[in-house]
Amino acid sequence: MTESDERHEGLFTLRESPVWPRHVIEEIQLKSQLGRYHIQGFSMHRRGVPTLDDLTFVPCTLSRVPLEGYREKCQTRTVLGTRFAENPVVLDRPITIAGMSYGALSANAKTALGRAAKRAGISTTTGDGGMCGEEREEVDLMVYQVLPSRYGFNPDHMKLAQAVEVVVGQGAKPGTGGLLLGAKVSETIAEQRTLPVGVDQRSPVRHPDFIGPDDLQLKIEEIREATDWKVPVYVKMGASRTADDVKLAVKAGADVLVIDGMEGGTGASPDVLLDHTGIPTLSALSEAMRALDDMKAIGEVQVVISGGIKNGVDAAKALALGADAVSIGTAALIALNCNAPLYEEDYAKLGVQPGFCHHCHTSRCPVGITTQDPELMKRLQVDEAADRVFNFLQSMTMEMQMMARACGKNDVHDLEAEDMRALSLEASLITGIPLAGTDFTLRPEDIAAAVAARISGANGQGH
């Protein structure tokens, strides 16, 4: 056997290169065909970012007294926008449906979300592309977004909303505008956005009439004048330099901050932005709360956190870290039927299976959620879909209450960081919560304090 023949002898197990695994090879070959970046929907694919799963609750045993888990009352009422608005938003539970555009989503999907939100006493949010009339008819509490593109923006619709959200960015792609590929720019969507039918719509990231934080202050003032100071003004930001951004948004006059971590979903994005920009939800919330604390604005400015919130436990942990509410997008779509094992032949046409689909950008959503195809849209029955989302919201609420009661709290908002322990050193460092099994953290300020105490103790002994 010559040296050049040795790999043909069948002596080796197939081994994937860690430098060039199959997905990287596929990606390079795909880009060699596309001549551009790879676009996908849904969410990020990278592994290993710290998450809320890296925390655990430490419920009552002897040192604390729990509430009866299935019986005693546990409040969930949530008020957002108490800083300047005449009419803050009152939610029945600390959950909101995130901004998802009519265009990215079908009218049926928006309508079902609106119906479920109304039953649950929570808000929905418009999205890039303006208000979906069907959704507005369903929901009592609507947050109207002011986005850089101003697609479909209508001041009359804004005046009907219960809150206005100035979108500075989103977690899936902070620093970059929205994306709606031509397959989804149907006649209806094109008319709503004043665009040519079938155009690959790449939204701007900068607002047309303001740029920096000082400008944002003026923009917020204008929105307050336009709405007669009645409704709260939220500012939504993709999680990036969160501490600085939070301080600037508070100074600019926001009532509510919506912080969207890098796990945040999307209808379409270059995958490199999904996987390689922004910071995780856990980190963003921790940074945001410390920044608010620095400004002594906790309680004055409310925080809504989003990005990968998948159940009531995530929500409870977010509340314990200081958030006032969570916002769900992808989880709500999954409750609608996203990635459900139905119409499997249509998943196959997209080259995927249920559970793996991220082809929201193609308008070929097999279950009728992220499509503008009238036939596919019909697959989402609004009544049943709304029931599913409502049931999911109920489950989230019950899970939140379960955690709160176990921790001895009769209001989910009373959950606090002290009710948790970190399961990883990373999570401990990020949140300042002790690693389970220890009573200390390794954050610089805590180390400094421990050293100072030790020195002080040593000095005391010396005397």
């Binding site: 001549g35 101003r150 001041p155 031509g182 690959d200 047309p208 009439d209 303001f210």
Partner: protein, 237 residues
Amino acid sequence: MVAEMTAVTVEAQDLETREVNRAIKRSIADGAKEIHVLHPAGRHSFAVALRADDVKVVFEGPTGWYTAGMNFGPHVVIEGNTGWGVGECMMGGRIEVLGHAGSGTAASIRGGLVYVQGDTGARAGIAMKGGALVVGGDSGYMTGFMMQRGTIVICGDAADGIGDSMYEGTIYVGGSIASRGADAEIEEVTDEDRVLLKQMLGDVGIDENVDGFTKIVSGRKLWNFSTKEPELWKSAL
């Protein structure tokens, strides 16, 4: 029965912006047809989100940012300069700036007319979705950026990047053009265009020979991605 009010004066000097806007809205509700705001002093967010036809609001002096933004119907006159975003997201109506205007003039308007007698800053007519912008003087960097529909007329010179990434709509420039933006192309001016220009300029009191105007439209190469235009897409994105 309330007697019909025709003209009202609001002295802004000692009022908060909120009070000025409420006075304007109250006057409109009471039937005023012409409202004069004295001493606006360059302050921001005056006369925003008004919904009223046949009403004229006159600012007797310069105003700040977002004057007459998000309006639907009224005729607003600014007797002086104005700041960024004048008329932004206007749905309909008429705005006349008898001076210069800052950046983002007529940003994302969907209807109506914004007329600036003097010059405009950067990104005038950005993301316009309809309506018309007429600039008597020069316009700044990236005028008509990502314009979607409507008409922009610049009587003077246009700075760099005019019409960059415009989807649709038409831009006419009477003076020189420093440079066109990505996918902004020159198209021949037709007799129909000249009639339209005459009519639009005449509407704001400008009597000018329109023979020398240049017409800019979208080349439509950025509508859908193509590997055949690598340089264009590299610079556009």
